[in-house]
């Protein structure tokens, strides 16, 4: 199925007749538990490419099945036999760590539409690596800043026991001024949170912060709502994106979460993006879709100025980031990670559809904590 889709995308592009001059390799997750994220990134990306009207860009799409070994094989194939100029698409930080360092060292440009592990922002930064989404800590830092503003003094914090989970709690603690009533590392992929919820109930916390992306967040929120505990919850947007909110249902209503994007951010690019995405795919876009869309537009803006074969000029064109982002102002910091405003959003119900409404700014023009370690 996925091979067929990729082949269809390729043949559709070839069928337009022009000789493809720029080749883009997209490795993303299109099957398995995390497929919703990869599909959103792909759809956002391809929407921008289609809207550009350019027929000299060929996008090769492959499914990594969320497995690092497969991602590495695909990347070797794309670099060595497909000879792509630019790579993008990876969702998960552990896959990005397996693929990105090797790819950029072979003079391929890598534009990250999602994963932002701290090593690639700090000591392991590279001139050919650009992150268009966020550094992993960012949304959690914003959650900590929001919790201060909301007057929380004693938080119970929780994340899965893996690198991005540790980054998440580190990010929250970096900005949260209050005390910690408890700090729990859960198992990655855990689906039952009864034990953790009992500990939250027994603690004297006044708020709960959690980072549980995808299905883990759905399980936790449903069980938490059913437990009857009234302590307010904060978290990053990853458990409240458009793809999973419908599966959480009423349990998510009113929860505040932090994101660099929302569908009601007021600018012309975003309005057009939300409308055209809905028209094309028949569903509301998620933050992942907006990241895919922005990544493609960054690429297009750089291609307008320079060819990837002229690596220095192309790199400068990417660094300038002269494109209309769905987030409004967008610029890169010295380590090629975004400097951007992060918002607090609240989950609401519009008709029958659960979605987010922007409450206000959590962190203005926020850069990441690792830029100083990057010697480029």
């Amino acid at each position: 199925m996925k091979k067929f889709l990729a082949a269809a995308a390729v043949s559709a592009l070839c069928a337009t007749g022009a000789l493809a001059e720029v080749k883009v390799g997209m490795i993303t997750t299109l099957s398995g538990g995390g497929a919703g994220l990869g599909i959103d990134v792909r759809d956002g990306f391809m929407l921008a490419i289609a809207q550009s009207g350019r027929d000299d860009i060929e996008v090769v799409i492959e499914d990594d099945q969320r497995k690092p070994d497969i991602a590495v094989q695909l990347s070797d194939k794309m670099i060595q036999s497909e000879r792509v100029d630019v790579m993008t698409g990876i969702i998960w930080s552990n896959l990005a760590m397996a693929v990105v360092p090797a790819a950029v060292n072979q003079n391929v440009f890598y534009l990250s539409p999602n994963a932002g592990p701290s090593p690639l922002a700090g000591k392991g930064c590279h001139q050919n690596y650009f992150n268009v989404a966020w550094q992993n800590d960012n949304l959690h830092e914003a959650a900590g800043a929001y919790a201060n503003g909301a007057g929380y003094k004693n938080s119970f914090i929780m994340a899965p026991n893996y690198p991005a989970g540790v980054d998440a709690l580190t990010g929250y603690k970096r900005f949260f001024d209050g005390d910690l009533a408890g700090e729990i590392y859960t198992e990655l992929g855990q689906t039952d949170y009864a034990a953790e919820i009992a500990q939250i109930r027994a603690s004297d916390a006044d708020s709960v912060f959690f980072f549980l992306p995808g299905g883990m967040g759905i399980s936790f929120l449903k069980q938490y709502a059913d437990s009857g505990i009234e302590k307010p919850v904060v978290g990053p947007a990853f458990s409240f994106d458009q793809g999973i909110l419908q599966a959480v249902g009423d349990a998510a209503l009113g929860v505040v979460n932090t994101s660099q994007w929302n569908k009601d951010i007021d600018n012309a690019t975003n309005a057009a993006f939300v409308e055209s995405f809905q028209a094309e795919y028949g569903r509301l876009p998620s933050l992942y879709a907006s990241q895919g869309f922005d990544t493609a537009n960054l690429l297009l803006s750089a291609l307008d100025k320079a060819d990837p074969s002229d690596a220095d000029a192309f790199r400068e064109a990417l660094r300038a980031a002269e494109f209309d982002s769905t987030r409004g102002d967008f610029s890169f910091g010295s380590n090629h990670h975004p400097v951007q405003t992060i918002y607090a959003r609240e989950v609401i119900k519009e008709g029958d559809v659960f979605t987010n409404k922007t409450l206000g700014v959590a962190l203005e023009n926020h850069a990441d904590a690792y830029a100083a370690e990057c010697k480029m």
């Binding site: 538990g33 700090e183 689906t191 009864a194 034990a195 759905i218 399980s219 449903k222 249902g249």
Partner: protein, 306 residues
Amino acid sequence: MSSILIIEQILNGLQFGVMLFLMAAGLTLIFGVMGLINLAHGSLYMVGAFAAAAVAGATGSFLLALVAALAAAALAGAIVEMVVIRRLYKAPHLDQVLATFALILIFSEGTRWVFGSFPLFLDIPDALSGPVTLPGGIEYPLYRLTLIGIGLAVAVGLWALIERTRLGIRIRAGENDREMIAALGVDISKLYTLVFALGAALAGLAGALVGAIQSVQVGMGEPVLILAFVVIVIGGIGSVRGAFIGALLVGLTDTLGGVFLPELFKLFMDNGAAQKTGSALASMGIYVLMGLVLIWRPTGLFGARA
């Protein structure tokens, strides 16, 4: 650490255990009667959850959703048995593993094809939502109490079926000597299909019940499948009683280990390090348990003596 918290955690462990039992019972029956290792058992769990979510979405009735889950999983199980599994009884275990692994991929991609890649919504019924106050001032979700009740009822029902009915006699006979009961005129292939469908229905029921408090998504069955295998190895392969005891042991070990090991490490470590070490060790807890049981009894707690 208060006694209320400890009792609440024991209830959580019990609830986790009885749901594991629903999975493990089918798995161990199928292995016991037919000698088949069925890796696709987790897919039947997923089929049950998706069928329940679809029917609950269309009709709004949780009861109908449970019926649909049972029916869909039993039907899927029966079809799979007749089309694929039947050809594998004489094959070596490696071929069975390979074929049923292929079934996992087919079920996963098939479900994605029908329902899409995004998780589905399945909520607990209003009548069972929210917490109840138990004697001693323990607040506990009513739905989880109901799950414990349903799990125990299924365990009793399964015991009665196997020990007290004609079908049960055939199942036990099939475990002991399949050539002999075939020679006595029992339609062995019909019996196999029936046992497979029964196991599948139990997995589907577990998927629907658990799906209401977790997420209904593609691939949800595989993590549970691994635990179910641990359960039947501990309990003794082929023994339903063993699966019950094993499931409760695994449920309690996993839940209580996850809570108390970090607390234990806090006595001589700082908070963050204790959490990380404690939760890492707790996730090994059930495998350590399995190892210890196997050293003590190499065929599991209730396994046939080799």
